[in-house]
């Protein structure tokens, strides 16, 4: 990786690594009587390792100007490998916590192994570790290809990728040692949050700079979605994490909002994290990899416009549906509910646009598991957005809220939509980036597809059953007019579904392991170096790149 950096970039990289290491040292010293100290030490080591890596390659030959006639794909490759590593770790912890729910005593009497600490390791590992790295890597690919322009420099993509993973590592390790601000999907404390702001703004600027260099008159839809993802996540992250540290030598901070305002801010964040992290970003992915794999034009450009603006506008209002029947004023709940209902049609338009794009290519869906991953992902996107709007209706929510139905809904989206579209994109991308004819084993892609689909279906059905049973048990009255079931009765009734859920998750995890093996073997296999195809190179940029026009 260092060999692709210019001398100036190597110097800046060394400086940045040293600054990170210094910041780590300062935190380690200031927080020596606090869990913060451990994190300071981690940051110090991380900075030193980066500095060491740069130093080792520092005196290597500089990349020649010929590079400017190519896309910059090294950070994409690294991002995909890191994403798959997070997938295996995050899903493994997911199966672990699912097993804990069925057998709650299996914590070895250790604080770090309690459900409350492991669960965010799972959610952060899969959402931010797997999903985030996959989004960053694919966005680097899509923005360059659809702009026909190379990224403006070599350092900022690495800064984004390496910096983002430092954030993920701080988050996950913090939960295990008890550092959390107890906001769902925003658990990391103030210093990690500040670091993510720096990384994320760099990401946004990098994306905008690349778009500014584009050699296409128009910006393709996928970029709208990726940009919405980056921009809105920045806004959400900053506002929801406004907090005052209790001291600069400690990890603990207190949010500036309190009570119902804090709850509303948190779920405005939480629901838009679903909207812009887990939906918009992955729609960007779908808009590039699905049509290229299917070899079909997008069903309707006009429909894309309706979907995009519908989703970006309506999602912003929907967060309050997480707080139905709470201290939140009734009118705020009404707005959340009605905007969630209006969100349905734009969401379905995206799913429909994707599925109808496959018209004329259904034989490919039948034969190609990679394209089938993306097709089923669009189906699950449609299913879970319908379910989401449905669950947001207050009287429905009265039954579903606080039950496993919510968990099932989230996983229909997270497994069925987010993970499947990502696997489809990765299987499309790996042979392209490493210049192979195809994946090492198409049979293993097929196996992964069926494991993932079976796991998702088992998981979602188990949670639908347990969620609805729970909801009904909690509200059933007996003839004498008092509650018919105790809470523990409902727990006993859940046990078989929890076992089934853990099994479904296990299938999904095995699929991810099979996929990682397949990707690894594809990378390891000797390059079959297919002929360069049209679109493999950027159009000559304004930066004075020499003869970069593709051969054809």
């Amino acid at each position: 990786m260092v060999s692709t950096l210019t001398t100036t970039e190597r110097q800046v990289a060394l400086l940045l690594s040293a600054l990170v290491a210094l910041a780590g040292l300062a935190l380690a010293a200031a927080g020596r009587h606090d869990p913060l100290g451990a994190h300071g030490f981690m940051i110090l080591v991380y900075g030193l390792v980066c500095a060491g890596a740069v130093a080792r390659g520092y005196y290597g030959p500089e990349p020649n100007a010929e590079r400017l006639a190519r896309y910059y794909d090294e950070p994409i490759k690294a991002g995909l490998v890191i994403a798959m590593a997070w997938a295996v770790v995050g899903m493994f912890v997911g199966v672990w916590v699912a097993t804990l729910l069925a057998y709650p005593e299996a914590t070895f009497d250790q604080a770090w192994a309690s459900f409350g600490r492991l669960r965010p390791v799972h959610t952060t590992g899969v959402i931010f570790g797997f999903g985030g790295n996959a989004l960053i890597a694919t966005s680097f690919h899509v923005m360059q290809r659809t702009s026909r322009a190379r990224m403006p420099d070599q350092l900022s993509p690495w800064f984004v990728l390496v910096g983002y993973n430092l954030f993920c590592l701080l988050a996950v390790s913090g939960y295990l040692i008890g550092i959390t601000q107890s906001k769902e999907y925003a658990e990391p404390e103030w210093y990690a949050d500040i670091w993510l702001v720096i990384v994320w703004v760099t990401y946004l600027v990098l994306y905008l700079r690349t778009l500014a260099r584009r050699q296409e008159p128009h910006i393709y839809v996928a970029n709208w979605y990726y940009l919405a993802f980056i921009l809105v996540v920045a806004v959400l992250h900053i506002v929801n994490n406004l907090a005052v540290p209790a001291s600069l030598g400690g990890a603990k901070s207190f949010p500036v909002f309190s009570g119902v305002q804090d709850a509303m801010t948190q779920w405005w964040y939480g629901h838009n994290a679903v909207a812009f992290f887990l939906t918009a970003g992955f729609l960007g992915m779908m808009y590039y990899y699905l049509p290229t794999r299917a070899g079909r034009p997008i069903f309707s450009y006009r429909l894309s416009i309706i979907s995009f603006w519908g989703i970006t506008f309506f999602y912003m209002w929907a967060g309050s549906h997480h707080l139905h029947y709470t201290a939140l004023p009734h009118w705020v709940q009404t707005l959340g509910m009605t905007f969630s209902v209006m969100l349905l049609v734009p969401s379905w338009s995206s799913a429909g646009n994707a599925l109808l794009t496959l018209n004329g290519a259904w034989h490919k869906v039948r034969d190609d598991a990679t394209l089938r991953f993306m097709m089923v992902a669009a189906v699950f996107y449609g299913l879970s957005t319908f379910e989401g709007s449905f669950l947001a209706i207050r009287p429905v929510n009265a039954l579903s809220h606080y039950t496993d139905w919510t968990v099932g809904h989230v996983h229909a989206g997270a497994l069925g939509w987010v993970a499947l579209i990502t696997f489809g994109a990765i299987y499309s991308l790996v042979p392209l980036l490493w210049k192979r004819e195809r994946m090492y084993s198409p049979g293993l892609v097929e196996l992964h597809f069926w494991l993932a689909l079976a796991g998702t279906v088992i998981y979602v059905f188990a949670m639908w059953n347990s969620g609805i049973i729970q909801g009904l048990m909690w509200r059933t009255y007996n003839d004498s007019g008092t509650l018919a079931y105790s809470f523990i009765d409902s727990l006993v009734a859940m046990h078989p579904y929890y076992v089934a859920r853990a099994f479904g998750g296990l299938l999904f995890l095995i699929g991810a392991v099979v996929g990682s093996y397949n990707i690894w073997m594809t990378i390891r296999s000797s390059a079959s170096a297919p002929r360069e195809r049209f679109g493999d190179r950027p159009v000559a940029g304004p930066a004075g790149a020499s003869a970069a026009e593709p051969a054809e």
Binding site: R145, T146, M342, T482, S486
Partner: protein, 291 residues
């Protein structure tokens, strides 16, 4: 430089742009999308008119139906209370013994007492009331503070070793840890205590019983009584009945004498209503055979 192309499969023109091989059809939005979109807008509009919806500075649009979630909750609670008011009133007013003699009322008390017990008491005493290590069984005949209706109701109300001003208070001293008894004396008194409930004693234990009896008489009788039958006035357990909260084996009894015991039970006075506590009293009395 947009060049529209006609897609052979669908017959539509593309928008004329192409990104890395991707094109888009310039197909109009299907009518059904507009229809669905408009119907969800209409639904939202109607809902806004009927329900509290839009903020207006310090207030908000109340909606034509005049629905308010707090008022609705209060109504729901009131109507649920009304549905069980007849028999609840009887439970509240009648003496416990009269209720226990009334099979219809007892059926209702058992029905609602079961969930009340499992939700509030089951965490410690177990959902069946059988207790567990450290938590007394409520299905046996042994009672720390008395098994009559009044005693059980009072224990539920004030709790044991709580911050309630009238809390029941009880403490077993840490005879070993605090240096009140020597090591040998601890061992002997444990042997004696085990002999009280006719536990099968090893020969080595047999030897200590006589010495243990003296130590017991000097140190333990104030609470547990000369005969070791305990006292419900101070919550001292009966050591002769063969029921044990913390275990009746040699090791467990030694631990109790060595480090003392001070079990806690929460006070339920502020958490549960009087009639709920009465239901629990009835349910607990019904669980075990009273004295």
């Amino acid at each position: 430089m947009a060049v529209e192309e006609r897609d052979a499969h669908t017959g539509y023109l593309t928008t004329g742009h192409e990104w890395n091989g991707i094109t888009e059809l310039n197909r109009p939005v299907p009518k059904i999308i507009w229809l669905f979109l408009l119907s969800t807008f209409l639904f939202a509009l109607v809902w806004w008119v009927l329900m509290p919806a839009w903020p207006l500075g310090a207030t908000y649009t109340r909606g034509l139906l005049g629905v308010d979630q707090r008022a609705r909750l209060a109504d729901d609670m009131a109507s649920a209370a009304a549905a069980r008011a007849d028999w609840m009133a009887e439970i509240e007013s009648k003496p416990v013994e009269a209720i226990r003699a009334d099979p219809d009322l007892m059926r209702l008390a058992r029905e609602s007492g079961r969930t009340l017990f499992a939700d509030n008491c089951g965490v410690c005493h177990g959902v069946t009331g059988a207790g567990g290590p450290g938590y007394p069984s409520l299905v046996d005949t042994a009672w720390l503070w008395g098994g009559d209706a009044q005693s059980v109701a009072e224990t539920i109300r004030v709790g044991i070793n709580t911050g309630h001003p009238e809390s029941r208070l009880s403490q077993m001293l840490a005879f070993g840890r605090d240096g009140i008894l020597e090591r040998q004396a601890l061992s002997d008194v444990v042997s004696y205590v085990r002999s009280l409930s006719n536990a099968p004693l090893a020969p080595a234990e047999q030897a200590g019983v006589a010495a243990g009896a003296t130590i017991f008489a000097d140190n333990c009788t104030a609470c547990h009584g000369e005969d070791g039958r305990g006292s419900q006035d101070v919550g001292a357990p009966d050591l002769t009945d063969g029921f044990w909260i913390y275990g009746g084996d040699r090791r467990s009894i030694l631990a109790s004498v060595d480090r003392g015991r001070q079990g806690e039970m929460p006070s339920w006075e502020t958490r549960l209503s009087p009639v709920q506590r009465k239901l629990l009293t009835l349910y607990v009395l019904d669980l075990g055979a009273p004295q």
